[in-house]
């Protein structure tokens, strides 16, 4: 790692604390929402949305993806595409099954 000046690191640390508070709040929100009487679609959608926000916070700030090199972002972009393929194509195939 290149040398960081102290002011910059202090700024980073403040960000970490803010992200931490955000993650805690979202954890409580997602648990609270699960006790509401939402429809299945709304409940699943909301829970996954909150998880996605939390996940992005961790990836962007703790893992510093927000200012990471293009090379790593490119690798991750392809990984995400293939991740979606393995997630969606089997389900699509299943739902398109021939009725017997």
């Amino acid at each position: 790692m290149t040398t960081h000046d102290t002011a910059e690191i202090d700024k980073h640390v403040r960000t970490y604390i803010l992200v931490f508070v955000g993650l805690m709040a979202l954890t409580l929100v997602t648990v609270a929402v699960s006790y509401l009487d939402l429809s299945i679609a709304a409940g699943v959608g909301l829970a996954l949305l909150i998880a996605a926000v939390k996940g992005s916070l961790v990836a962007c700030f703790f893992m510093h993806l927000i200012n990471e090199r293009k090379l790593i972002l490119a690798v991750l972009l392809f990984t995400v595409l293939f991740f979606l393929a393995v997630l969606l194509l089997p389900v699509l195939t299943q739902s398109n099954a021939v009725e017997i």
Partner: protein, 602 residues
């Protein structure tokens, strides 16, 4: 040129302190690990070949005792020398597993990749040498586990190399050992692929931009990405199957399954198709893992022996990238008969047809590279030239399998066996032989015998076709694969049954044709013609290092001055202009070229 680069390696003195074990067995040197991979891979190829010889005898002479060694294999396998169906199934499953995961891939990626790739990019070693050693030993352990599975009660895995549930879940204990072996092999591949990618991206020497990489490096780089991203789903599936077998879960077990008249005691609710999806998510890219390194080797050998630049280098590179990307979304063409509807089968047919385009581009470029060349017909070149039509047959016979309507007739017949064996056996394995003959002088400092090489090549070519061409005829006639009697009990197989004997005798012929290779391989270690660092007058950077290269590879850090295949450049004194030599025409200090921030794509 040496004056320009005074950076010498300081580690020469302390490597001599390493003892025998650290130098030859637990070595972290990429060249030793590459040779370890290659020798182990060749041994497993031979072992897998022997399993096939046993099967072929049974197919040609079903129910007849196996001569000579039949009785030695024991009553649980061959009572009185006559093969039991269960043992035939074990041989089939293990032949596939061993050839793919323990033979071809370790030789092509672990062997050639480890030995040649760092040399071609001018690196002193791989990026993570200790990880490299761990990768080899994990592979080795996986191999030992797979081999020992023949001796557990009930014998080795019997569910085919695809291990489809529910049969694989209710199979004997050999299947559990198979799954454990696969976990070791997958771990090895993952460690290896991370290492390869980092090495290519980070350790290229000055001036070696991405578009100056030899095509072999490209093929290994892309292969590593395929291994990295396609293997983990199979690992997940292997864990789930392990849970199904050991913890009695039902990931792949549907409710109400009846086996031998008895209801299977599981909670149910699982999906056998889930396994097929996850398995083929790996296994289709795995096809390209088998073929891409072979294409890389063939490209090197053809460029060198036609004494011409590769025709369409850039289109080959972009094709290989596109091919790798597409290979992740074609897998369900292996599953047309699983009750898939028309929408999804149309999708997978389309992607399958699209992926054939880049393959054809690459093969066409290699073919056009021959045009107008003054070709040297040495042994590596003969194998590389034979690769082109053999791979062509394998590829073109795959097209009908990718179309759902044709696949209904051809699925699970000998046609499929013929198709993929043409790709892998006279295709990939011929390319690997070309690679062995081509880089043997670099690894040992001696050339292999040309006479024995040709004695190896011509009979091999003949017998390979003698084995696999009849399979298409049998398959079109409707003979199913995995029949332990070769189809004797089916009336529709009767007219093509005589071909079983043709194939079996060809297989024995092929075995005998490998003798010159084995003799050549060992004899040339001592008796081969001694060569210098660049016996083929080649242009890529590995030929700058001494043969065999010392620890650390290069005396001075090389610099890449130009594209990889500058053969027969007009106005040059010799017909080759190596990447590592500065420009001869221009006086003054060499221009190393800008190392660009090149995009790395999967």
């Amino acid at each position: 040129m040496g004056e320009n680069h005074e950076t010498t390696h300081s580690e020469e003195h302390h490597h001599q302190e390493l003892g025998f074990w650290r130098t030859y067995v637990f070595s972290v040197d990429h060249k030793v690990i590459g040779i370890q991979y290659a020798v182990t891979g060749l041994s497993f190829l031979f072992f897998g070949f022997c399993l096939m010889l046993l099967m072929r005898w049974q197919l040609a002479y079903p129910g007849e005792p196996f001569p000579l060694i039949g009785k030695l294999l024991g009553d649980s396998r061959m009572p009185g020398g006559i093969m039991l169906p269960e043992f035939y199934n074990q041989l089939g499953a293990m032949h596939g597993t061993i050839m793919v995961f323990l033979g071809v891939v370790p030789l092509a990626v672990g062997g050639f990749g480890n030995f040649v790739l760092p040399l071609q990019i001018g690196a002193p070693d791989m990026a993570f040498p200790r990880l490299n050693m761990a990768s080899y030993w994990s592979y080795f352990l996986g191999g030992v586990v797979m081999f020992l599975s023949f001796f557990v009660p009930g014998g080795a895995a019997q569910s085919g190399w695809t291990s489809y549930p529910p049969l694989s879940v209710i199979a004997e204990s050999g299947q559990t050992v198979w799954l454990l072996g696969m976990v070791f092999l997958i771990t090895s591949s993952l460690l290896g692929s991370v290492n390869f990618i980092v090495t290519v991206i980070q350790l290229r020497v000055e001036g070696l931009t991405f578009m100056r990489l030899p095509f072999f490096v490209w093929s290994q780089f892309v292969t590593a990405f395929l291994l990295l991203l396609a293997f983990p789903p199979l690992e997940a599936a292997a864990f789930m199957q392990l849970m199904d077998r050991v913890a009695n879960t039902s990931f792949f077990m549907p409710a109400g399954l009846v086996v031998s008249g008895q209801l299977v005691e599981v909670s149910g609710g699982g999906s056998p198709l889930l396994w097929q999806h996850l398995f083929w998510f790996l296994a289709h890219p795995e096809v390209y893992v088998l073929i891409l390194p072979a294409l890389g080797i063939v490209a090197e050998v053809i460029a060198n022996n036609t004494r011409k630049p590769l025709w369409g280098y850039k289109s080959m590179v972009y094709s290989v990238l596109f091919l790798a990307f597409m290979s992740f979304i074609v897998w369900a063409h292996h599953m047309f008969l699983t009750g898939m509807g028309t929408v999804m089968s149309a999708f997978f047919q389309t992607t399958t047809m699209i992926i054939s385009i880049p393959s054809v581009v690459i093969i066409t470029a290699l073919l056009l590279s021959l045009w107008g060349g003054s070709i040297r017909f040495n042994t590596p070149m003969l194998f590389a030239l034979a690769f082109l039509p053999m791979f062509g047959i394998g590829g073109l016979t795959g097209l009908p399998l990718g179309l759902a309507a044709a696949d209904i007739h051809l699925h699970d017949t000998y046609y499929v066996i013929g198709h993929f064996h043409y790709v892998v056996a006279p295709g990939t394995i011929f390319a690997l032989f070309a690679g062995i003959y081509y880089w043997y002088p670099k690894a040992t400092g001696r050339k292999m015998s040309e006479f024995l090489g040709k004695l190896h090549f011509w009979p091999s070519l003949l017998f390979m076709n003698g084995i696999f061409l009849p399979m298409f005829i049998q398959g079109l006639a409707g003979v199913q694969r995995r029949l332990f009697d070769g189809g004797v009990s089916y009336a529709h197989a009767e007219p093509v049954l005589f071909l079983n004997k043709v194939m079996t005798h060809s297989a024995w012929g092929l075995a005998i044709a490998q003798l010159p290779f084995v003799i050549n391989f060992f004899l040339s270690l001592k008796r081969g013609e001694k060569v210098g660092s660049n016996p083929w007058q080649a242009t890529t950077i590995e030929w700058l290092a001494p043969s065999p290269p010392p620890h650390g590879n290069f005396a001075n850090v090389p610099v890449a001055y130009r594209t990889p295949y500058e053969y027969s450049v007009p106005g040059q004194a010799s017909d080759y202009h190596p990447q590592f030599e500065p420009d001869r025409r221009v006086a003054g200090p060499p221009d190393p070229g800008e190392p660009e921030a090149a995009p790395a794509t999967a």
